[in-house]
Amino acid sequence: MSPKTAQIRLVSSHPEVYEPCDDSFALVDALLADRTNILDHCPRLCLEVGCGSGYVIASLALMLGQELPGVYYFATDINAHALRVTRETLDAHAVDAELLCMDIASGLEKRLAGMVDVMVVNPPYVPTPDYEVGREGIASAWAGGENGRSVIDRILPVADRLLSDKGWLYMVTLTTNDPSQICLLMRKKGYASRIVVQRSTEEESLHIIKFWRDSDIQLDTKEILTTNKSVPARVKDSLVSQFSQLSFWRGTNSNCL
């Protein structure tokens, strides 16, 4: 791990704000693993949806900062306390981001469409009854509704709208979210995907998936749309096998979530 990001300190906390946990660490590890690619990619605008304590956005700003100083960072959260904690985390590490309290990226969708080069999301992904989703307080940090997909499924079209042609999305998913189906959904929008980091806890397996627009897939998708064919079986199989192999993998145990 880069020595700089390893130093992210939790300078502030709040009972209603999600503390960095295995999923946050896995997401930052994925960004670190892909750091040289991101640097080569020269992003101008980066966005985190659901920044919580600010651990991820501060790490991203620190790991890119030295080589890419002129990058503009946005971070949103639906929880106003989270943004205040994020502000303190950023200040303590001498990095900066524009913080916005909003549902996903609702106030940015019009004007920022097609401009975001790197988008990172550790969404609320735990399967819960639907009524727990998006309520005030800490529950909205994890409550993901049926199969943990209700917020994720609202984020995907927003990502598609906001990402630039060369834009990348990094997202945390759980096996129960059916990540291969998420990849298929994104494939229909013209995105290729790859697992950057995989990690298992006692009960669950986390995947950090990277999505990017792929012109071959876009051609494929056009064909599917015009000829009304479904996604070729070989694609489906390869996506499914990517994930099913991983669910047997066991890493360090965890007691968060």
């Binding site: 101008r44 990058v71 943004l83 900066d96 524009e98 916005l100 940015l108 019009k110 004007r111």
Partner: protein, 122 residues
């Protein structure tokens, strides 16, 4: 909130056709110096709504931006410095953003705009 962000924000209340630009109500502006990166400015210039930026800067007390701008001005360091200051160094610390169509106010506290909508607005 910086004015670059203001230029990218709109009100998305149900039924609002074009919630841009949000009107700014100022209680407190703070200035924070940041490093000058002309490449960022050149890249973002084509995406800016110029009039919205000029008006917003004026509301925040900065009147140095020209009323009209075109990309040939990006050659001038003086212009870039002004753009840099307006976009990235002026912060609305306390105040509100007002939807141009409905008048609904979105508060800005400690530099953080609260754009959350009420149930009957989504």
């Amino acid at each position: 909130m910086r004015l670059f962000t203001h230029n990218m924000l709109s009100s998305n209340i149900k039924g609002v056709a074009n919630g841009f630009p949000l009107r700014i109500e100022v209680d407190q502006v703070v200035e924070k110096q940041v490093d000058f990166h002309p490449d960022f400015l050149r890249n973002m210039f084509p995406k800016l709504e110029w009039k919205a930026l000029v008006d917003a800067a004026r509301t925040m007390g900065y009147t140095e931006l020209p009323e009209e701008a075109d990309s040939s001005m990006l050659e001038s360091e003086e212009f870039l410095r002004k753009l840099h200051h307006a976009l990235l160094e002026l912060h609305l610390e306390e105040g509100a953003l007002v939807c141009p169509e409905t008048g609904r106010k979105f508060p800005v506290n400690k530099g953080i705009p609260n754009m959350l909508l009420h149930e009957d607005e989504v």
